[in-house]
Amino acid sequence: MEEAIIIEKSVIIVAVFAITMLFAMYCTLAERKIAAWIQDRRGPNRAGPGGMLQPLADGLKLFAKEEFMPNTPNTFLFVLGPFISMTMALMTSAVIPWGDTLEIAGRKVILQAADINVAMLYVFAVLSVSVYGIMIGGWASNNKYSLISAMRVASQMISYEIAMGLSIVAVLMMHSSMSLREIAAGQHEMHWNIFYQPLGFFIFLICSFAETNRTPFDLAECEQELIGGYHTEYSSMRMGFFLFAEYAAMFISSTLLAVLYLGAYNYPGMTWAAENWGENTANIIGIAVLFIKICFFIFLYMWVRWTIPRFRYDQLMNLGWKTLIPLAILNIVVTAVVLLLNR
């Protein structure tokens, strides 16, 4: 029995890891294709059919580049930065419920690497640590542009994590659980949180943009002001790690958005499908549905990036502290009152 669990979990871990990497890789292609589509041009189409091998070519190119080391006293920290970013971006996926249970060879397999009861806290902990990668990398670069960028990221992440956390509190209150699994299960059929928590959803969405450093919150690497931001001095695969971490983070936060607000693997007619087609089929459709939702959010990220300009630093802080946090608190109060009245 023990061995079975180890094998089961290992398979899930490897699968989740591979899927995250694959998504992050193909996000780079999707980003370029979507940008091209929005900007009325073709995008990469040379490597493989329709440019499908472009991410591999990019990766290979990054490996082949010179590893530039700036004149910095902190070479260790300089190397550490991208690794922290990368590791943290990949760690979040451990607690995501990718689907309900599957019955394989008489065993109920939970499609989740780790079903911990404080999953939300874990997610926030990992997110907060991921900022260190950028901060350390930017600071160790010994470059003023990198330093400015690192400072911007740090304060942006800290400010928006507060609003993000507060917007989640309302969801936790509704489901009276911190386990992502229970939150996902609680949104069965069409009882998606977005219908009960529209304000919370928007706050979480905006904060997700800020947490992943995407336009309009990409102050960290706005190339027109800070050249390359925190990765100005990085080259080769070290820079590749930063970029990869950004895309992985985007995938993860899309997943969180889907799990927390868009019903995770739930879809209308799931009970019916389970009754008529069997539990397994219904749950496999559920996995597909989750990935469709994730793809939608990834598309949303790219759509926004190629449409609107970015904020100025002080405007970003104003939005975070003076608009989103009060709104998130209001959301908690309203949710609490409604829950109390419905008791």
Binding site: I38, K144, Q224, I227
Partner: protein
């Protein structure tokens, strides 16, 4: 006074030391340029920063100084035209035409109406191309790349028109003393009509994307504001002055090239900030299209494509190859052996960026005695550091791009 003579780094280092001792605040020097993505061209800004706030700054010019004024003193009038291409390379036909008009003014040549209208068309197309770049690059500098790439296709269409008219695209070297080198082809006229038919929809879409975008407005309103008094005292002209509320446009104030024949408005702003400059430029694109339409409508059928000045206008190539007289004239004109009065003229045109002036002194020889280019960008850049003082780094970038400081025109 002695402090002002120091190089900026030394001067700022003194200030950093003084501030550290007095307030315990550590200021830092940020070297913005010469090869920074936001300096469209090559120029340096040494900024004294308190975090992200700019305390003081000093611009350095001269990174692409090519001594055009000195070179011009050794070149016959025909050969100076290629120098003007490289001033504001976003709108070279205006520079070319401005130079020819200066020479024609010096020689007292009358230009047929048809040629003047053709020049108006090409200058207004160049103005549109210039404003397309500046306005869309403001989008890029605030983080919206899409508008830039989208309207860039239509600058390409303008370049195709140039190509049809003179064979070149960026540095056009267009025209001759007295007119154009050849009649515009059917394709050129058709392409102009096609551009006028297609471009309004595109420009409307571009304006809709940015001009009422809340983030873009927040970024640009109030940023880099120059009031009318300051603008006038620095000698601002063109869109940057008009954005500050002064309705000075050389096309109206001192009409040249028959601009008085056309009906158009001069858009003016109120606050002289980045947003006003953006709006003024966008509105000018519409006015330019209006002028081109009128010029096409009123275009006289007669008049040819050049003035009848055989002493200055190059003879056609067939004749040069087959005819002794024409060959001699060709040689003499190219080498500058033409009758030139002993005089001094100033001629200014409304360039894409403002008053582009040519101050020409001749002493009867084959080359100018002195030629000075009045480049608007050089003047804007003087004011840059005063404008951005006390603002954030982001504001400085957007201010620089909204003033459309082009390095080729900044250093000549």
């Amino acid at each position: 006074m002695s402090d002002l003579l120091l190089v900026p780094e030394k001067r700022f280092e003194k200030q950093i030391k003084a501030t550290r001792e007095k307030d315990g605040v550590e200021l830092s020097i940020l070297n913005l340029g010469p090869t920074h993505p936001a300096t469209h061209g090559i120029f340096q800004n040494i900024l004294l920063m308190d975090g992200e706030k700019i305390i003081d700054g000093e611009g350095t010019v001269g990174y692409i100084h090519r001594a055009f004024e000195k070179i011009a003193e050794n070149r016959p009038f025909y050969q100076i035209n290629v120098l003007t291409d490289r001033l504001n390379y976003c709108s070279s036909p205006i520079n070319n035409t401005g130079w020819w008009m200066t020479v024609e003014k010096m020689l007292g040549i009358e230009i047929p109406k048809r040629v003047q209208y053709m020049r108006v068309i090409i200058m207004e197309l160049a103005r549109i191309a210039d404003h397309i770049i500046c306005s869309s690059v403001m989008g890029v500098d605030t983080g919206a790349l899409t508008g830039f790439l989208y309207v860039m296709q239509y600058r390409e269409k303008i370049y195709e028109i140039y190509e049809e008219i003179c064979g070149a695209r960026l540095t056009t070297n267009m025209g001759r003393i007295g007119g154009f080198e050849r009649e515009w082809s059917e394709t050129a006229w058709r392409k102009i009509d096609k551009f006028l038919a297609e471009f309004p929809a595109v420009w409307t879409e571009f304006e809709n994307m940015l001009s009422r975008n809340r983030i873009f407005m927040d970024r640009t309103i109030g940023a880099g504001a120059v009031d009318a008094e300051m603008a006038m005292s620095y000698g601002f002209t063109g869109p940057n002055l008009r954005a500050a509320g002064v309705d000075y446009d050389i096309r109206v104030a001192q009409p040249y090239c028959s601009y008085e024949d056309f009906e158009f408005d001069i858009p003016v702003g109120q606050n002289g900030d980045c947003y006003d400059r953006f709006c003024v430029r966008n509105a000018e694109v519409w006015e330019s299209m209006k002028i081109i339409r009128q010029a096409l409508e009123k275009m006289p059928a007669e008049g040819g494509y050049h003035a009848d000045v055989p002493d200055y206008y190059l003879p056609p190539k067939e004749e040069v190859y087959n005819n002794m007289e024409a060959l001699i004239y060709h040689f003499k004109i190219v080498m500058g052996e033409v009758p030139v009065p002993n005089t001094e003229v100033y001629h200014a045109v409304e360039g894409g960026n403002g008053e582009l002036g040519f101050y020409l002194i001749t002493n009867g020889s084959r080359v100018p005695y002195r030629l000075h280019f009045r480049r608007p960008c050089f003047i804007y850049y003087q004011a840059f550091n005063e404008i951005v003082k006390g603002r954030s780094l982001s504001d400085a970038i957007i201010t620089l791009s909204s003033m459309n400081v082009i390095a080729g025109e900044l250093d000549c």
